[in-house]
């Protein structure tokens, strides 16, 4: 169609070339709605020719609702005196297509409109994508609502369960322990040493189970309490925990190294609970060391502050390191080190609730190091990293 000309003048042919070589649909109609001009894209899309369409109206080409809308928009553009933007829908081979249309009137010498030009760009794909995003968001919101409701329900259930555990399971234990005592007191003459020892074992185990129930409740509480973040001085916190431990066992000689100015961002109560458990563990597992050593510090890994608690205690078999954080998992016998095995499960839950990670390394007989972060690795790194060890 286009002729190559060296002529610099722009005439009707050049303008026609311009409107024919575009992906937009371009057309011109008089005020009666009769077609005066269409471009090639129009011809292609609606399978008409420029010659055939002359003098026809949209009502000859499209279903009446579609034609009515085009006509109304034409008149609105003519009345406005300048360009107006519309979204229009026209039938296509694969169903309705949405067009972003600019319509503007052509004005005569008297300033009155005599025709309306339209340039329509097919935005069906964009609309479809928008619609999909909208639908996706609606679905997502729906799913979030459902999941929240489920979570609330299960939290309520857990609450009820915890309450029941604290009430209903403790009362029978008290009876076991108490009646063992009454037997010991009232029938001791009828019991030999073995009988008395058996009753004592009964009591020890009833107490142990009561402790386990308490631990279980503490564990469930760490999952349920609301998280309130604030800046925490972990050095001061570690030192106070160590002071308490040292006061409980003044005879132990433990070399304590707490790096200065360890600071983190977390829930004060929960982080203290975690640190308390980690340090108490280090304290416990260094009990058989003549020169026990506990170090609390931090390093930076991938621009993230990683805190650690290191001891030169009994350590654990690295083959079982996945089991470390499971509730009631114990990697040492009760005769060696006492405990219910709930401490590290609590620590892990606290760290996970902060979006952080926890892991441990150990060489059995040499010591163990527990590492943890208080933020997720994909969130922004803390404003200030404390690098110390």
């Amino acid at each position: 169609m286009t002729n190559r000309r060296r002529d610099a003048r722009v005439g009707p042919e050049q303008l026609l070339a311009l409107i024919d070589n575009t992906s937009a649909v371009i057309y011109m109609r008089d005020l009666e709605g009769r077609y005066m001009l269409i471009n090639e894209e129009y011809e292609r899309l609606f399978n008409v020719t420029r010659e055939d369409i002359l003098g026809k109206k949209d009502h000859d080409l499209f279903p009446v609702e579609v034609a009515d809308e085009f006509r109304a928009n034409d008149l609105a553009a003519a009345a406005s005196g300048g360009p107006v933007q519309f979204e229009e829908i026209a039938p296509g081979e694969d169903g309705p297509h949405t067009y972003l249309t600019i319509k503007f009137p052509l004005l005569g010498a008297d300033g009155a409109p005599y025709a309306v030009c339209g340039i329509s760009t097919d935005i069906t794909d964009r609309k479809r994508a928008e619609q999909e995003v909208r639908l996706f968001n609606v679905k997502l919101e729906q799913r979030v609502r459902e999941r929240t409701a489920e979570l609330e329900a299960s939290t309520k259930e857990l609450d009820a369960f915890a309450y029941s555990v604290s009430h209903d399971l403790r009362a029978p234990l008290r009876s076991l322990h108490g009646f063992s005592q009454l037997l010991l007191e009232d029938y001791s003459e009828q019991l030999d040493e073995t009988g008395i020892a058996h009753l004592r074992r009964l009591q020890v185990n009833a107490s142990l189970m009561a402790q386990l129930l308490d631990d279980l409740l503490r564990l469930s509480k760490t999952t349920r309490v609301e998280l309130r973040r604030q800046a925490i001085d972990l050095s001061a916190m570690a030192e106070s925990i160590l002071r308490d431990l040292a006061a409980e066992e003044p005879d132990r000689s433990v070399k304590l190294l707490v790096a200065p100015a360890l600071s983190g961002d977390g829930d004060l109560h929960l982080v203290r609970l975690a640190l308390q458990n980690l340090i108490a563990n280090a304290w416990k597992f260094t009990a058989h060391r003549p020169t026990a050593e506990i170090t609390i510090g931090s390093t930076v890994s991938d621009s993230q502050t990683v805190f650690f608690v290191r001891d030169n205690g009994a350590g654990f078999d690295p083959r079982f390191k996945n089991k470390l954080f499971e509730p009631f998992q114990r990697l040492h016998s009760a005769s060696e080190f006492e405990g219910s095995g709930i401490g590290l499960a609590i620590v892990q839950r606290v760290i996970l609730r902060h979006g952080g990670t926890i892991w441990a390394e150990s060489v059995p007989g040499v010591g163990a190091t527990f590492f943890f972060t208080l933020t997720s690795s994909d969130s922004l790194p803390a404003a200030k990293d404390n690098d110390a060890n």
């Binding site: 008290r174 009876s175 108490g178």
Partner: protein
């Protein structure tokens, strides 16, 4: 007439046995009157006209009771002029924060969780008795 009686509101017969034993072992010779549920306790303290009310020195009140919970009993007693000043200690298995808070808010004078180990229980009862039955100044009787 105020007596040196202690009213124990407790539905678990085992706990009744332990409490009685603990009193005896700690040499508190106060009479222990047992109400096995909430309505029974209310009937004793706020009887219908014509019956003399029980006027105990101390009420030990369990929370987890059938029919009427210990908290309901507590609120009922606190809302009546005749019983609003009686010392009431919650003696219960629960240590749920909500129960502790609700107890104090409803006018309990104390909250003691029953320990599982009997010697701990003995110790708790001794502390309770030492304070409420021996040391503490009793509510003066008011002229009626």
């Amino acid at each position: 007439m105020q007596t040196s009686d202690v009213l124990l509101v407790e539905d678990n017969p085992d706990d009744v046995t332990f409490t009685q034993r603990a009193f005896k072992k700690n040499n508190f010779d106060n009479r222990i009157i047992v109400a096995h549920d909430g309505p029974a306790a209310v009937d004793l303290l706020l009887p219908l006209a014509g019956t003399a009310p029980l006027q105990p020195l101390l009420v030990l009140l369990d929370i987890n009771l059938p029919q009427m919970s210990g908290l309901d009993v507590l609120r009922r007693l606190r809302s009546n002029g005749q019983t609003k000043l009686i010392p009431i200690i919650m003696l219960t298995t629960s240590n749920d924060n909500r129960d502790v808070l609700a107890s104090y808010e409803s006018g309990a004078n104390g909250f003691v969780r029953k320990p599982v180990a009997f010697d701990d229980f003995l110790h708790a009862v001794k502390s309770l008795g030492d304070f409420w039955l021996e040391v503490n100044e009793q509510v003066p009787l008011q002229d009626s």
